[in-house]
């Protein structure tokens, strides 16, 4: 294995109980830095002080800076690849980093790149654990609100035509504010394709509607067409979404076959009806497995390690809260009837949060790609409070709050999602270009199908 390289990162804080002026003078004494340079470094922001150093250099420099009173952390760079230049000599770091500091925005970019990288916790030089890379979400409710309201207004004014562009802008905002190791997610769908898809879908439904006048008996044909087309629609939706999502200029993909989609979305649910839902957790598991295992990033497939047993355990976990909730409703109803409605809403909300949190956690914790795993640690009670406040505020403001609700939810969900990188994230390779029409996706959208991750 090639030698690992490290970044030396100042976390923006001084060590506890250390005085700023003491740090300044120590730094100026130890390193060839001017007072102004030291002040810029100590502004209280996270700064990469040295990039791409070998282990010995990084540790030596890190230890020296720590002695001066700065809270320093070493982060592991992706294993040296052709794209990286060898480390520059230790003496130069002051000048080099200063240049990066002066161009404000560029610094933000620069640190974003590696500062989020693998954090070496504890003492300098301790043993490596798989590096933890948090998902960052920087969306702002106010900004998203402005985009949202312009989207609605332009859609009204253009009689719906703009809605395709609206969808793309909405998604681009959310994707663009989601970052992983200094790279943002990118939504690449072509609004024209979405518009075409929508026109065809609406055409189909107008046709089936007109059919009720002319030949009411043939209505069943349209229903059959829809049922038969459902697996195709699902595959197309997943494919369109994946193909139009990218990070680091490499797209995601979806390789699921319609035949398999028919199995997990039509056949197994059909069987589930006749087993009184006992196999429902298994069906749910098969659907998630189908989605994850057929998803790709570049040429690499995702892996799904969950078992149906885990999904049974998950859904069984809801039985106790349900029983307790029903008992509470009955008991409260016996004492003071009007309150039982409140308890009922409470139970509903709890189950809503329970389902969202547990399925999200299991899905991500069981998914991996190459040697990169995910860790999702959403919690039921905070999520419940989030849903409750979002729902109340959205209802009371007639929907005007909904952009904030979206941002708050994403912030929570992404804030509890971490990539556990055990491997060079740069080894992923782009796949073949494929173009997918938006038709399937728009059919799915029309019915508000929720089959994404």
């Amino acid at each position: 294995m090639p030698e690992a390289r490290y970044n030396v990162v100042y976390r923006g804080n001084l060590m506890p109980g250390v005085d700023v002026s003491a740090v300044k003078s120590k730094l100026m004494a130890t390193f060839p830095l001017s007072e102004k340079q030291v002040e810029t470094i100590l502004k209280g922001k996270r700064v990469v002080l040295k990039k791409n150093a070998d282990e010995a250099t990084a540790k030596r420099l890190g230890a020296a800076l720590k002695r001066a009173g700065m809270d320093i952390v070493l982060t592991r760079r992706p294993v040296a690849s052709a794209a990286y230049s060898p480390a520059s000599s230790p003496v130069e770091w002051s000048e080099k980093e200063k240049a990066e500091q002066d161009s404000g925005k560029a610094k933000q970019e620069g640190t974003g790149g590696s500062a989020q990288a693998d954090t070496l916790s504890g003492e300098l030089g301790s043993v490596w654990t798989p590096s933890e890379i948090p998902f960052e979400f920087n969306g702002v409710g106010r900004q998203y609100f402005k985009i949202w309201i312009v989207n609605i207004l332009l859609s009204i004014v253009t009689l719906g035509i703009y809605s395709a562009w609206a969808k793309v802008r909405r998604k681009q905002y959310l994707y663009g504010n989601t970052r992983l190791r200094g790279a943002a997610f990118e939504y690449l769908a072509d609004p024209l394709k979405i518009l075409k898809g929508r026109v065809i879908v609406i055409g189909f439904f107008l046709l089936s509607y007109a059919d009720t006048y002319v030949l009411p008996a043939t209505q069943i044909v349209f229903t059959l067409i829809f049922i038969v087309a459902l697996p195709w629609v699902i595959v197309r939706t997943l494919m369109f979404n994946a193909r139009n999502s990218a990070i680091r200029n490499i797209r995601f993909g979806f390789k699921g076959r319609v035949k398999d989609a028919a199995l997990v979305y039509l056949w197994w649910p059909f069987v589930a009806i006749f087993t009184l839902g006992i196999i429902f957790p298994y069906v749910y598991y098969r659907q998630k497995k189908f989605i994850v295992e057929n998803s790709t990033y570049g040429t690499t497939r995702f892996v799904f390690t969950a078992t149906s047993r885990e999904y049974y355990r998950l859904f069984m976990g809801a039985i106790i809260p349900i029983l307790v909730g029903i008992l509470a409703i009955v008991a409260v109803g016996y004492l003071f009837a009007p309150l039982s409605g409140v308890v009922m809403v409470g139970l509903y909300l709890y189950l809503f949060a329970f389902y969202a949190v547990k399925t999200t956690n299991l899905l991500y914790n069981a998914s991996s790609i190459a040697h990169n795993r995910f860790r999702a640690d959403l919690k039921i009670v905070p999520y419940l409070m989030l849903v409750l406040t979002n729902s109340l505020a959205t209802a009371l403001t007639l929907g005007i709050f909904s952009p904030w609700a979206v941002i708050r939810t994403l912030r929570y969900r992404l804030g509890h999602l971490t990539l556990l990188a055990d491997e060079d994230p740069e080894r992923f390779v782009a796949g073949q270009e494929e173009h997918v029409s938006a038709l399937g996706e728009e059919v799915g959208d029309f019915f508000d199908m929720d089959i994404g991750l």
């Binding site: 970019e109 985009i147 207004l153 994707y175 959205t394 929907g399 909904s402 979206v406």
Partner: protein, 343 residues
């Protein structure tokens, strides 16, 4: 000369490189690594696609070979666009999105639009759609509703055949005066529904036994029939279905994908609006009954008498002004308000 920093991705691998991109006045583009200044790409002309601005999200400079530069330096990118690219109409959209003044005007417009749609637009559209629906749909919908009611709430009537025949004969003048419609009077035991009457879109009108028993005079039942005929003639059944789905659609369009909120709460304003629509229909039907009764020389007080008895039966002690807010949670207007016109 314009220079900006960013991350370089070649489009073939996920390798991330810090770069500086320099665009000279001639349009010449240089991209070099930020650390050792080694050159990555040189373009003789500015053959670079630039993504449209969207708030503070990263911009992408897309190079001809599929590589791209990702940067947060939106202002510098805007300079490049101004200089070397035609501005896209999406940049104007960005202007709209970034001025709070426009957004406030937009919000105001949206609220007025929402109010107008709920108050006028949706009921108007629903009326048109409901009148376009063919009778086959009305029949199917009505049969399904009736069998659903029969299964869940209603049971076979316990009235004797004589009473039923007498009432049907008594109703005949009202029914024959609506020769365009195919009215069918049926009786059921209401059970939990108590004294009630419903109209289905195809002209089926159901009286519960309790309603019949509560009536002191057959003319009182004629008054109720006139009200139910009003529902059918004005197509309230279909209009409310269309209205409610249009409303749901409009709310969905506004709230979009609400992953973090539960639909239970979003349904609340929808429900309140639907109730308001329902009360409006009741008023329309009352109005219809009023004219219909005058045409047939039925004393208007019969309607009021029966309605009061029904309200009393249901245990409502409304009308004292303090419980006005209950009105917003009700499918029917308050009894006393309804009856003013009949006295």
């Amino acid at each position: 000369m314009i220079a900006l920093r960013g991350k370089w991705y070649d489009g073939k691998t996920a390798v991330q490189t810090d770069v500086v991109c320099t665009v000279y006045d001639s349009g010449n583009v240089h991209v070099e690594k930020a650390d050792d200044h080694s050159r990555i790409v040189t373009l003789p002309q500015f053959a670079v696609d630039i993504s449209a601005r969207l708030a503070d999200t990263p911009r992408y400079l897309k190079f001809p070979d599929g590589a791209q530069l990702e940067t947060l330096d939106n202002d510098t990118v805007d300079q490049l666009v101004e200089r070397y690219r035609r501005t896209s109409w999406l940049d104007r959209v960005h202007l709209l999105e970034s001025r709070f003044k426009f957004v406030l005007v937009g919000l105001l417009f949206l609220l007025i639009f929402l109010w107008g749609s709920v108050q006028y637009g949706i009921p108007w559209a629903a009326r048109i759609v409901a009148h376009m629906l063919p009778s086959s749909i009305l029949n199917v919908a009505s049969q399904q509703t009736l069998s659903m009611l029969d299964r869940s709430m209603l049971s076979a009537t316990e009235l004797d055949a004589d009473t039923r025949e007498r009432l049907k004969a008594y109703f005949q003048p009202l029914i024959t005066s609506h020769s365009d419609y195919d009215f069918n009077i049926i009786f059921r035991k209401g059970g939990g529904l108590g004294a009630n009457a419903f109209a289905l879109p195809d002209g089926t009108i159901i009286f519960t036994d309790e309603m019949v028993n509560l009536a002191a005079h057959d003319q009182e039942l004629s008054a109720v029939l006139a009200h139910e005929i009003g529902h059918v003639v004005r197509r309230h059944g279909m209009r409310s279905i269309v209205q409610d789905s249009l409303l749901g659609f409009a709310i969905l369009a506004i709230t979009g994908d609400i992953t973090g909120s539960s639909e239970l709460f979003i349904a609340l304003p929808v429900l309140l609006t639907e109730l308001a629509y329902s009360r409006e229909f009741e008023r329309e039907a009352d109005q219809y009954a009023l004219t219909c009764m005058q045409d047939h020389y039925i004393d208007l007080k019969h309607f009021a008498n029966l309605m009061r008895r029904v309200a009393k039966e249901a245990g409502g002690d409304e009308g004292d002004g303090q419980k006005k807010w209950v009105n917003y949670l009700s499918t029917h207007p308050m009894t006393e308000d309804r009856l003013k016109a009949f006295e």
